[in-house]
């Protein structure tokens, strides 16, 4: 993990929580220990969508993990939902390209990306096509294995 540490210090959990609250005043945020948070909020990617309940878990030194609490995400028959880790958390950025670091606000990065992910998920569920683009991990790359397993 040492190679991943940025030059300047990370945004504190308090700042992240504050920004998330500003981004969505109706959301809730719970602190876990001294260096973590669990945020819960809602998202409706289109006016015709259902309201999704989202949870973001974040611990300093790790990448934020985003889950959809409800409604339960659905597969298309046997086909697995694209761009997820183990069909549990949403893969919103490519850790190999360092698209996220802990000086970024979750409210401005993870949250909008999760909404966009839901938007493309809905279209995929309807038509079977994923239009959001994205990368697929290199199985030999250790970073994603370490970060997500």
């Amino acid at each position: 993990m040492s190679s991943y540490r940025p030059q300047t210090p990370p945004l504190s959990i308090a700042i992240q929580a504050h920004c998330l609250h500003i981004a969505q005043p109706s959301s809730t945020c719970r602190f876990t220990g001294r260096s973590g948070l669990v945020w819960r909020g809602g998202a409706r990617p289109t006016p015709l969508s259902e309201e999704y309940r989202l949870q973001i878990n974040y611990d300093l030194g790790f990448l934020p993990k985003t889950k959809v609490l409800e409604p339960e995400l659905r597969r298309r028959g046997e086909e697995k939902i694209p761009h997820m880790y183990n069909q549990e958390t949403l893969c919103l950025f490519n850790p190999d390209k360092r698209e996220w670091n802990d000086q970024m606000r979750i409210s401005n990065t993870i949250l909008p990306l999760a909404c966009l992910w839901l938007y493309f998920y809905e279209v995929w569920l309807a038509t079977g096509e994923w239009h959001g683009g994205g990368d697929h991990p290199d199985p030999l790359n250790t970073r994603s294995r370490i970060l997500f397993n």
């Binding site: 809602g42 015709l48 950025f93 390209k97 938007y119």
Partner: protein
């Protein structure tokens, strides 16, 4: 380009309507000719006109004029269900002497078309017209006509009846002018300009973003009709839907608002004062577009059946929630394949917009809003 939603601009119902408008606009665009196909259509009928009017053409003395009429001229052209070729209706007016019979007029035009190497190979004779079957994209029907009053500016023409025995009055240009007036009543009233009898013959094709709601609603209603009446022969004909819708239109701004109001009001414009259903041609009052209904009362019933179904389907779409319901509610309007094409295209456009700053309202999670957080550059990832 997709229109941006304004989460502060109205309540949830307003946003829902705006989003359905986006879907409808995209759908109407996908049921229309592509710009390339449109250019081909213009080129085709222009070339036909030039061929009929060429220096060595026997028709040249009769001043042939070819123009597009009907749906191709008023922006309501709708891709047929399960086929790829559009029906484009064109008129060929030649100022022949009074002694020329309807059958002779048709023969004269056909003979000249047959003289052309390319047209000969794609020419097909229909009962009242000549059809040019261009590869895949469309076919052009050329309806033989002569001016009602030769050597005047009047647009009224005579066309032949199905049996090629009688002359039948028609005025496609006046219909186009009437329709254009109806679809933009406000603007015309504002500038104080009345209907122009001599409209430009070129078929217009406005970008779907600029097209007013009325032509879009007519396209969608025709498509809904096609989906509803698959395998049946009693479907309401396009000219009835178009004429009643144009009467019923009250300058609503939104597509869904127009469709709600037009579906509700259009039956009221069928005139029963003479004891039978009359959908008068607004430019030739004696012509009843619903004249077949007297011999086939099932077609009259079918019109009302379609109207009721469309209203119910629109209500279902307005109340749909979640992907599965929305997709199911769109199928009666577009057909299953077209729904997926439209939803996929909208998603592609949304994804393309990421490079120029796609915004998200983090309070609601709405994607593609006019003000919000710009989605950061990132690639979705994952082991699945």
């Amino acid at each position: 380009m997709l229109h941006e939603l304004d989460p502060m601009g109205g309540g949830p119902d307003v946003l829902r309507d705006e989003y359905i408008d986006q879907i409808f606009r995209e759908a109407a665009g996908s049921l229309d000719l592509t710009p390339t196909q449109h250019a081909e259509v213009v080129k085709s009928y222009t070339s036909v006109g030039e061929w009929l009017d060429a220096p060595d053409s026997p028709l040249r003395a009769y001043r042939p004029l070819v123009y597009v009429q009907g749906s191709g001229a008023i922006g309501t052209l709708t891709k047929p269900l399960g086929r790829d070729d559009f029906d484009i209706d064109g008129t060929c007016v030649i100022t022949v002497p009074d002694s020329v019979t309807p059958a002779e007029l048709k023969w004269m035009i056909g003979a000249r078309l047959r003289d052309h190497e390319v047209y000969r190979a794609i020419l097909e004779e229909k009962s009242r017209c000549w059809r040019l079957n261009y590869a895949r994209a469309f076919h052009l029907d050329i309806i033989p006509a002569k001016p009602k009053l030769p050597h005047t500016d009047l647009t009224a023409i005579y066309i032949t009846d199905k049996e090629l025995r009688l002359w039948k009055e028609s005025d496609p240009k006046a219909y186009i002018a009437w329709f254009n007036l109806r679809k933009a009543v406000a603007r015309v009233a504002f500038t104080g300009r009345g209907a122009q009898a001599n409209v430009k013959p070129a078929p217009q094709q406005e970008a779907p973003a600029e097209k007013g709601p009325l032509p879009i609603v007519i396209q969608l209603m025709k498509r809904h009709r096609d989906v509803t009446f698959q395998g049946r022969d009693d479907a309401p004909i396009s000219i009835i839907i178009t004429t009643l819708a144009a009467h019923a239109y009250q300058q609503e701004r939104s597509i869904i608002g127009t469709m709600r109001s037009v579906l509700e009001r259009m039956p009221a414009f069928i005139d029963y004062s003479l004891g039978y259903a009359n959908v008068a041609n607004p430019t030739i009052k004696a012509e009843n577009f619903a004249d077949k209904w007297q011999k086939h009362p099932d077609r009259e019933d079918a019109f009302y059946e379609w109207n009721e179904k469309a209203k119910g389907d629109l209500d279902r779409l307005s109340g749909a929630k979640g992907t599965a319901q929305v997709r199911a509610a769109l199928i009666p309007f577009l057909g299953e394949k077209r729904v997926d094409i439209v939803l996929n295209r909208m998603a592609e456009k949304t994804n393309t917009k990421r490079s120029s700053g796609l915004k998200i309202d983090t309070k609601t999670g709405l994607v593609g809003v006019s003000s919000g957080i710009v989605v950061p550059r990132a690639n979705f990832y994952g082991n699945e």
